[in-house]
Structure formats: structure tokens, C-alpha cells
Symmetry: D2
Subunit: 343 residues, 4 copies
């Protein structure tokens, strides 16, 4: 049994991680920390866990993190980087669900996250935890940077096209729609039901932190400069990301459907839907799958890829568990076999 | 492995049953029948099952139902009663998720369901599948009538009070709120998102088929005449039932909280919440639990019980699996251990 | 033109009041105050008002309130009572949409609102602004206490029965369901879309501030002691209240439908629906109507009244405008003629 | 007073048209026809109209349409073209809210709508009712083809760029999101709340009827071949369209914000929001406005235009009333002055 700790278990990625870990056959959950909720039963805060998890929040500085084999950080950006060096030194592996180790360039990180990086020397070691790209490196990693939700959906959709050089990397568009749980479990007017329900809006068009993360991943795949227009939208639902991706084909005659099917043939969590399909976010609600469909409307120059994930599962906690399974030599799908909840 | 067939797997109770059975460790799913969808892959209709269930809908008259140990009916009312006698004669056990075997009086059944009963001789044998009341009878049953969704939530909330004779059975009120999946997966104007979202309404105040079912169960518990006012409401959500129950106390001084805790102390799927709690339907979304809280506002004469279930799980498919576990000597919680999906 | 000021125009009752006043033919809006948003264009905060309202928020202590004929308070509880004496002394009439002047007993007010009342001497003068009960007093009033949202829906439903002495006032139940805009436009975790959508829960069962307000109104109608069990529920929608009311008939043979129709025959904003109807909250979305239906299931002892309003209109801003029309001798329906938005 | 008839008043564009016409100061509503609902009170079907509209549905062949000055068609595609020639011959003007007269090429119409056009000779005369493009022609028209919902939002967003030749017309992308009322008020599984809520999906990527309508309008503006990739999405809300438009700039240095502000400076229903804004669909809920914002992320080659409308108002019934106002010499904004309902 892997001894696991969770730092910052009071947000939506936290509760989803706890739901998955509580049911995981290979995990012994040792500690769930929260400064604000220390002393409170986890299941008091999250009543879906009543009867499934009998733990009390402890303060984050508790030494029991050092007794773990693995610590997950489900904290705000900038927290993990304070504690990770100490944990690694103590022989504890780390998966950070926040953004602290996602960008390889510390200057870029500081630009987007508004603070200097606390341990830039670890950025080169940190493995970007997208198993469909970095599986072997993840197996060997001490420190995994779990990808963002939008970056997961967008990269999985663009990668086959860029890896094969079939589209112009200088003109990529990602129009993405996210449920409001992506904004986190914090008191805010903008994501009140009375504000965000029966409403649709774009946000962050001028610049969003996930844009450089996606660009970094796509650049690695294509080895050319990438120009990506990234427009996220707040959608009146709780869970789910729908990424609609547009690229200009530079070659014609390719069988795009076969390309995608082959690229992901051995991937347990990427489902290439049949030709002409329109994947629905609800088809992955609560599940760790990404479902993709490829279209080329009217046989034109533009290829359209539809990519859906559950932002809290494949976009956060599920992918983190997938990474844990890889790091500890378990079956990659352990604890992640549940089908989506539909309707 | 129990060989299982599902008749009528194209509705919401059907897909939920398939989701649970596909993950159940003791079940081998043999056949899923549908007249309308015969020949189509189940996972085409329900994409959440892609990768989890590799079966094709077959016509309902296929003889492979007779090769099963157990057949579930997830059909409209009036269908199961046509096929059940033949199945029982062939040694196949049956759980009917529809209403065909819920009422013991065939005249009452005909009154509420608008057709004569096809096999009234089986009504006495059929066991009403509420394990918290009839566990031993279910273990021994060939034919189980799976309770309705409202009846499950309402009976579990009222039973401790009526069994102990603490309230007036002549003045019971059940104000119930259901998500729209309770209306089923059929084309209808009234449950379109554009009609039912951002809206709340009562329906069936003059009479609802679940009223006699509830009354029958409560009468059995109290052995006195029962007068129940039952008002269901259509609520703008997909899943979930919230029953708010009102009764007049005939005794005072009772510790109602202890009463409920003791009544359900050994029940794996009934959770009596702490004093003063307000259970939320989302705390049981996708899970087989019923969560209850008891209140006596301002120490008055009226006791208020709050009872929540997922109408598709404890109110339908989950309870059916629980009954199957009992009928076949499995652990009662097998295949039902998942925590609710929150948020 | 009535010169009108609005204190505290940044919440949901505020923006709804501004929407109605901006279109009102007899109103000149002079000032909208907000401490936090002073200096900002109102239409920046509420983009639905772009092109309809060209005003800037001013600080609440601005003397221009004294130049108004009427000031509305759309502030948190406890604010209006600080400023009302000065306004009345300056000859300005006041309608308070908060609770400061709703309860006649200052001790009860202090008990429920947690602070001593700042001007208890005005409680006797304040007129409770339910036109269907107090129309003539409202016409003559300097100070109107605009009713709460639940109290409006519940009183309009119970009043005909209590006024005629047809039900037992010692056993009234109001099971009420409200959209989340009733909780106001303030940052809070509990009313985030990710928490409150796809969810139903009761709250405040032990005690809710609207209970004494309703009881006060019902007691005045029946002149007997009233015992009211009041259970509010948070419903996953933005606007709307559905009150389901239960009472025990003390007489039989009454034509309840006629009773309701006669009671409200001359009321412009109370619509008694036909026998057997189920009013929907969306049928009053954005409109000032209360729609009612009366049921007596199975000719039993319990009468069920269904009452729906838009909590922000008849339950707040619309009723306030209706009161203004009465106080200033305008047509009672001026500015309130719009039909509900459906779908 | 304009004598007005409505053919097919039982859908969502129908009820919205009736809501607007019932409150319009210059309209006398003479007849509302429906084959299926003939004899039923309109307000029985649409309870929001109780007290606002006292009409009974009549059969569509009733001769009283010929006594009207203007007839609106809110019918399925293919109905209006059967009746329009007769109405025009009788001197009755027509506004068709369906697609019968939107495409100028009868072959293209037949291709997309699956039937031959019944009166192709009228296609040249019909005026496409987008006032921001065709105002003078609309004033003089006998027959107006009211634009589709997506086409309205998309054209208003692209037109300023194309008219000025600032973008490549060979590479336009419209990623559009619509509430489900766009699918109409007809019984269908796909738009049930239980299917479409908590879900996001694209549809019609291979081809959608609004694509040729948009392309026709854009081609007229640019006088060059247009290649448009059009991807609509079903969004879990009732009303609203959010169009996110992408184009490649062919010139740099243009002040795009000024361009849009000047283009729409005199338009009563097009609101160019300030630089950096993110218009919300709820800011136009129930209102006839289109709100636009222009972005050029990171000063790159791609311009992003955000365009929101209420699909039932500016995208259907409101624009039809705007066209009526123009055709009959009324103030263009008559009956359309209401602010959006927010929240």
C-alpha cells in the first residue's frame, strides 16, 4: 500500500482526489491537511465522503507528510514550491496539481503567476504529467507537474496533427468551454449560480495562464514556433471541458481518422470516437477519459477537433492518480475504472 | 458469476443499471434487450459505457433470457407482468424496476395503472424490495418488486416514527421534490430543458401512483389507517429526490435522533445525519445511500424529516442491485461502494 | 415625475428595482448610492442597464437623498433604520426592502436580527407593504416596510382560508422553495453554481427570520394563535419562489375555488388559476404576479395551496414599485405591466 | 394600429413574438393560428400571457389572415412559402421568421432544406431582414425574410471587418454556442433537461443550414469568395447565443475598436462594449440588443470578436418586430425598449 498525503484538500480538485483515493485499492491515505479546516472531519465538509473516509484535517506543517511515500498538492499556485524541496529531500515523491512546476522557464512562470519561483532548480527535473506524452519519464519521476485542465484537453486534441506535421503551427485556435468548478471552491460573485447559470461568456481573451502551458507542450511536439489563439468560456454547468480546436491543413489526402486512432490505440484513457461523432462532456463526467472526434467540414482547409474531458478528473485528480499509478508501478488504470455518470 | 439479463435497457433506470452491473464483480451480463434499438451497440446509445460494456441490444423475445439466473425489467409499467410467469417457470429469478408487482391489491393496481393485471396470482408472492423492511424475504424471493423512487425516500423517513407509534398516522404530509430524470428518457415537451430549467412546479396533486404504494408500506408499519397527503414537485436538476416529511407527534419527550440512529444502525445504505443537519441531494448523486435528518422546529408538535436519495440509484437501479446481492447471497454492498460525485 | 433615490443598488433587489424604475413612466431617478461602488457607472456593474440608465453610484451620505420625494432602501438589514428618521424628518417618504420595519415588536426584531432596533418608535407607524391587505394604509403611509419574499408568497396563499376561519391556525405548514437569488449577490461558497446547481436542500429548519414575519401577518388575519411550520429549500434556479401550503380544514362543503377567486377578484397582481392547475414559477419570471391554485386531494381534510412569485419582483422590487404607485396616487400597475419571460 | 396576425404561435419564437406584440403600443393582434391547438386559449398554453392576451388559437386557413395588414410566420420551414403568395396578392405584408425566404438561390435552398421551393419567383423580392444592413430596403418591403439566430450574431460581428477588407475572407471561423430554446418547443430526447443540462457538445459540424445563410451575407459584404468554418454548440441554458469569431488580419495598425464603434454608432440595438470587455448572454436576456467586443490577443494576427444576442429576441421575434416597425413607419424601437432581465 502506498502511503499517501494530500496537502490542501478543501477545494474541488481536493475532494475529487479524496473520492478517488478513498476507493483506490493500492492506497493508504495517511493525512489530509488544511490550515483553515484543521480539526474538522473531512466528511463534515464533503458529505459525499461520509462512510468512505474517516480522517480529520490536520495542519499542513504536520510532520506526518514526511512519513508518506507520496504527497499530492491540491493547493493554490505558489504553495507547493515552498514545501517540495523538503519533501524530496526526505525521500517523498510529489505530484503537484497546481501550476508550480508546469512551465520550464522560471521567467515565464514569474510573468504569468506574479511571483518569483521558489525553487527554479527543480523545474528541469519536474516531469510534465501527461502520460500520453511522457509516460516513461513519469514512471521514473520524483516530482510530477500535473497538467492543467484546458492544457490536457487541448494538447490531446492537437498532438496527432502537430506530431505528423499536418497543420500550420502558426495558426492554431482553441475555443474552450469549461464548467464553473474550474474556477475552484472559493467565495466569489462571478461564479454564483445566480450569475453564472443561464449565461455564457468568454473570459481572459487577452491572456490566460494556460496559454503558455499549452504552447510549451505543442512546441515540443512540433519543434517549430507555435501561434495559438486561446479563448476560454465560462459555461453554465459544474463539470466538463469541451475544447473545439481549429487548424489549417498543410497537407491533403491524409486519413485523419486513422491518424488519431493509431496515435491513441494503446491509450487506456483516450477514446477516439467514430467519424462524424460529437463527443459530449457528460460522457466523461466523473471518468478519467478524454473523448475525441476529428472533422474536416466540407473537405476544406480547416480541420476541427472536438475534445472533451472532466476537468476535475482527467483534467486534475484522475490524471494525478494515473500518474501515481505509473510512478509506483501499479496498473495504470487502478482506481480509475469507473464509467461516467449519465444522465 | 450470476448470469444476468436486462429487459428494456434504453431508459435512465436502464443505463444506470448497466453502469452498475458492468462494474459489479459478481455479474456476467448476458443480454440487454430493446425492441426499438435491437442490433445497435449499447455504448452507441450511452457513450459513457464506451469501453465498459461490449454488448448489442437484442430483441426482447430472444430465448437467451431463459438462460439467465436473473432478469431485471427496466421497462414501462405493464411489460414485466407479461413475461414474468414464463421466466419464473423456467427457473429464472426476476427483479422488476417498474410498478407491476408493487401493489398487493390487483384492483388498486388496475385503478392506478389503467389496465387489468396480467398475473394477479403472483402479487402475493412478490416481495417488495425495500431491504430495510423486508431483507429476509428478499433473500428468499424469486420475484422482487423494486420500490418506486418517491416511495423509497418517503418510507425510510417515516418508518421509524410509525413503527414506534410516535406520530398520528391520520395526518402525514410528504412534500417531495424530484429531478427530471424521474420522468424518464422519452421525448416530451414538459421535461425539455427549455421548459423545466429555471422553473419549479408541483404536479399530480390530485393523485399520483406513488401515493398508494407509500400508503401500503406505511400501513404495514403502523397497522392503522394512514392518511397521507403527497405532493410531488418537478425540480430543475437531473438526479435526486428530496422528501420533506411532516407528522404530528402524539408523544413528547422522545429522543427522535436516537430513535432514527438505532433504527438504521446496521443499515449499510441509510445514513442518519447529525442533529440539525440538512442533507443535500448531491451528497448521494450516483450513490446508493439515503441520508436522513430529523428536526423538531421550536420544540413544537410537528416533526420534520428530511430524506434524500438519488432517484436512479437507491430509488431504482442501485436498490435493484442491492436486492440482487441479497437474493444471491453476495455481500449486500457488492458493486455499490462508490461515493457520490461531488461537486 | 416622482424624484426617487435608491440606497444600496448593488444587490439583486437593487438591480431589479433599477430595471423597473428606469422604465417607469412616472419616475425620475435622481441618485443610486453605494459605498463600495461610488464613482462607478451603474451600467458597468449591471450591463443589462447599458443604454437604459446613465447614472453613477454616489456615496450613501450624499445630501441628494434629501432632495428626493421617495427613497428606496435595498440595503442589508439594519441599514435603513439608521437613516430613515432623518429622511422622514426632511419630508422624504421611504420604502424599505429590507426587514428593518417589518416586525412590530422591537424585542422580536432584536431576537431575530441580532441587534437592537435603532428607532423602535417608528415601528408602529410603518405600514407593512402587502397591498392585498393594507392598500389604504399604504396610500397614506410615509414609511412602508416592503414584505419579504417568502412572506409574500405564503401569506397570499393562506389568507383567504384564515380570514374565513376555514382551517386550523394551530397546524399550518409552509414548504417553500426558492431560487438562489434570494440569498443575494454576495460572495459565498454555498450559492456557487458548483455547489447549488444539480442540488436540492432544506435550510434553516430550526428557525428562519421569515417565520415570525409570516406568523405576524397570519395572526392578524385570523385573530387566533398561529402555529406555523416553515421549511425553506434552496432550489437550483435563479429566480422564483414556489410555496406549497398545507392546512387542515375545520369545515367541509366550502367551495374553496370560489373563495379564492372572490378574495382576489379585484387584485391586479394575484391570479387564481383554474381548478386543478399547477402554477409554475417561470410563469411569473420578471413579472409582478402571484399565481395561486387550490387543491383538496382526494377530498380529504388537508387543503393544499400552491403559490408562486418571482422573489425579486412581487417578492421585492416589483412590490416596492406597486407600493410607490399607491403612495403617490399613480395607477397601481404603472411600470409593472410586463408579462413574464417564458421560456 | 397595425392589424397583425401570427401563423404558428405555439413554438418559442411564437410565444416570444406574442409577448412582444401584446405589449406593443401600435399593434392590434387579430389572430393567432395553430392547427394543433385551435380552440384553445393562448394563455392556457403559455401561462405567462394570462392577463396579457385574450385570444384563442384559430385554424391557419381562417380567412381573417387576409384582413390583416401584416402576418408573421413562426412556423416550421416550408410552411410560409405555401401561403405567402396568396397573402401578398391580397395586399398583406409578411415577415417570415422561418428560413423560407432567406437564401436567394432556390437550388441552394432545396439542397439545405430538402424540398423544392414553392415560390422561387419571390426570392428576389424578399428582403433579408437585418436592419443594420438592409434598413431602407426593409422599409419598402412587402416580404421580409427574418434572419436566423446564429446568422444575426455572426454577421453583426464579422461585417465591420469584411466591409473594410481588413481580414482574409478565405479563413473565417465562427464558434457559436446556443441555448436549447434554439432547438424549438418540440418533444425530443436530445433537448430534455436530463440530456442537455450539465452537458456541452458540438453538433452539425459537417454542415448546418445557417452556414450558407451566413456565407451569403458575408459574401455580399466583402464581394469576395468566403470560406467559413461554422461550429455550433448546444449549451445548457434556455436562451442566448454567444458567437466567438476568429479572422486573420490582412492589415495591421487599424484601430479595430473605433472601426466597430463607428460602424454601429447609429444603431439602436447594437452595443459595442468597451475595449477588453467580455459580453455575457444574460446581459441581453429578453432584450433586442446585440452586444459586441473586439479583441486582438497579444497583438497577433488573429482578431477575436465576441457577439451575444438573445436567440429568441434579436435572433427571432424581436428582430421581426424591429422589421415591422420599419415596414410601417413606426419608431424602430417601439415595443422593444425593455432592458434585459438580470439576474
Amino acid at each position: 500500500m502506498i502511503k499517501v498525503g494530500v496537502v490542501g484538500g478543501t477545494g474541488y480538485t481536493g475532494v475529487e482526489l479524496l473520492r478517488l483515493l478513498a476507493a483506490h485499492p493500492g492506497v493508504a491515505l495517511q493525512a489530509v491537511t488544511s490550515r483553515g479546516e484543521a480539526g474538522r472531519h473531512v466528511a463534515d465538509l464533503f458529505p459525499n465522503l461520509r462512510g468512505h473516509l474517516d480522517l480529520v484535517f490536520t495542519p499542513p506543517d504536520a510532520s506526518d507528510l514526511h512519513a508518506c511515500d507520496l504527497v499530492f498538492f491540491a493547493t493554490p499556485n505558489g504553495t507547493a514550491m515552498q514545501l517540495v524541496p523538503g519533501l524530496l529531500a526526505a525521500g517523498v515523491k510529489v505530484i503537484d496539481l497546481a501550476a508550480d512546476f508546469r512551465l520550464r522557464d522560471p521567467d515565464e512562470w514569474e510573468h504569468w503567476y506574479g511571483m518569483p519561483h521558489a525553487c527554479p532548480e527543480l523545474l528541469a527535473e519536474a516531469v510534465y504529467g501527461l502520460p500520453e506524452v511522457n509516460r516513461e519519464a513519469i514512471r521514473a519521476a520524483r516530482l510530477v507537474a500535473n497538467p492543467g485542465c484546458y492544457p490536457t484537453a487541448v494538447q490531446l486534441g492537437f498532438l496527432p496533427l502537430l506530431e505528423q506535421g499536418l497543420v500550420d503551427p502558426g495558426n492554431l485556435i482553441a475555443d474552450t468551454k469549461s464548467g464553473v468548478s474550474g474556477a475552484g471552491r472559493k467565495a466569489a460573485v462571478g461564479t454564483l449560480l445566480a450569475e453564472a447559470s443561464e449565461n455564457m461568456k468568454a473570459y481572459g481573451v487577452a491572456g490566460h495562464r494556460h496559454q503558455p502551458e499549452i504552447r510549451q507542450g505543442l512546441r515540443a511536439a512540433t519543434r517549430q514556433p507555435v501561434e495559438l489563439t486561446f479563448v476560454p468560456h465560462l459555461t453554465p454547468m459544474i463539470r466538463g471541458i469541451h475544447a473545439t480546436l481549429y487548424a489549417r491543413l498543410t497537407a491533403t489526402g491524409e486519413d485523419l481518422q486513422s491518424l488519431f486512432e493509431q496515435r491513441y490505440a494503446d491509450e487506456p484513457f483516450v477514446d477516439v470516437m467514430p467519424l462524424g461523432a460529437h463527443p459530449e462532456t457528460r460522457s466523461v463526467r466523473g471518468a478519467n477519459h478524454c473523448r475525441l472526434a476529428v472533422h474536416r467540414p466540407r473537405d476544406g482547409h480547416t480541420v476541427v477537433v472536438l475534445s472533451v474531458i472532466d476537468n476535475l478528473v482527467k483534467g486534475a485528480a484522475g490524471q494525478a492518480v494515473q500518474n501515481m499509478n505509473l510512478m509506483f508501478g501499479l496498473d495504470e488504470t487502478a482506481g480509475l475504472a469507473a464509467a461516467a455518470l449519465l444522465p
